[in-house]
Amino acid sequence: MASEMLTSSEYIKHHLQNLTFGRLHDGSWGIAHGAEQVKEMGFWAIHLDTLAFSVGLGILFLFLFRLAARRATAGVPGGLQNFVEWVVEFIDGTVRGSFSGRNPLVAPLALTIFVWIFLMNLMDLLSVDHVPTIAHAAGVPFLKVVPTTDPNVTFGMALAVFALILFYSVKIKGLGGFLGELTLQPFQAGSWPMRLVFLLPNLFLETVNLIAKPISLALRLFGNMYAGEMIFILIAVMYGAGWLFGSFAGLLQLGWAIFHVLIVTLQAFIFMTLTVVYLDMAHQEHH
């Protein structure tokens, strides 16, 4: 292990550090070599490892599915086509079940979200040390392989979904309809003076309701994956505590990994389903 010389705390910190590219304090652009440097970079920095893995996995997803889509025939499907069709039918069924409007964007959106997040989550099952160790040997100081343990990824996707929610809310209901939805409920009144009285409380409640959607989407996924990753790291720390704890840690890791497969799939599914449901709400005149 590359971390044998480090204390546990340093080991964990090292594992939670992204490979960050940004403006260093001396004015030049480069890769940060520690948490302080990352802090100095501020907002205009990017996590190279996060983006590389998430975009890479996204492209892998698109490549595989595009391959199947190009070869797709109505005849007897081959192995890859069979698998892809199974996923597509599963997504299609879920979307049909929870989305009542007509929008050609929603099903492909759900497919992208599900498969992409699933793949990103699945990176969690790679052992926490091997890839960073190899990267370290190749001269890369930090490497986090699970993009969904980076809040930037989950918030990035959740904000994109939020943008779609706002876009379709305004598109379907009109700006007036959307604003009416924000101000005329949940307290409803028959006369205009009373409506004015309720306007502010309603706006406050509905805004919270609206803002809660992307935040809960992002934090749910991030929290689950971050916690899972953290536990893998802690188990990995145990490997350094003698053969007894080490072998126990091996057992723990196996058990946690098996359990984590469930979380990986479930979180991808929840993110997808909630996105579809939110978009469905955005498409409905009154809910």
Binding site: K39, G58, V84, D150, A163
Partner: protein
């Protein structure tokens, strides 16, 4: 664990991926699925139709066989009847012919008998005439006694 521009990059990548998926992945896959569904439905319908047609054909074949058997039985019955008729006709013809032959033979025999009787009558008359002449010792004038002779011949 900092929020930074990665967020924007991720959002852009997300939109690009969704766009790509919507443009190049989802439509051909769902099209293939729908097409296969249709093909299967058509195949099942065709199989059902074929089955019904086969049933119909079998029924028709059975009917045809039944009708053929009936026809054959009719033909056989007709042939039997005709054969019996022909046999009866032949029998009747043979009987008539036989009767005709017998009748002709009888007529011939009658003629022969008459002729023989005539012949005998003439011979007896001559014999009687000759006998009478001997008795009378003189020639009977044939011309004078022709009438008498005729009467005698008639009595024989």
């Amino acid at each position: 664990m900092n929020i930074n521009a990665t967020l924007i990059g991720q959002s852009i990548a997300f939109f690009l991926f969704v766009w790509f998926c919507m443009k190049f992945i989802w439509p051909p896959l769902t099209r293939a699925l729908d097409e296969r569904k249709r093909t299967i439905a058509d195949g099942l319908a065709a199989a059902e139709k074929g089955r019904r047609e086969q049933e119909l054909g079998e029924k028709k074949a059975l009917e045809t066989i039944k009708k053929a058997k009936q026809d054959a039985a009719e033909v056989i019955a007709l042939a039997d009847k005709r054969a019996a008729e022909i046999a009866d006709e032949a029998k009747a013809n043979a009987k008539a012919e036989a009767e005709r032959i017998v009748t002709a033979a009888r007529a011939d025999i009658g003629q022969e008998v008459n002729r023989a009787r005539e012949h005998l009558r003439r011979a007896v008359a001559e014999l009687a005439t000759a006998g009478a002449a001997k008795i009378l010792e003189k020639e009977i004038d044939a011309k004078a006694h022709a009438k008498l002779l005729e009467a005698v011949m008639k009595q024989l």
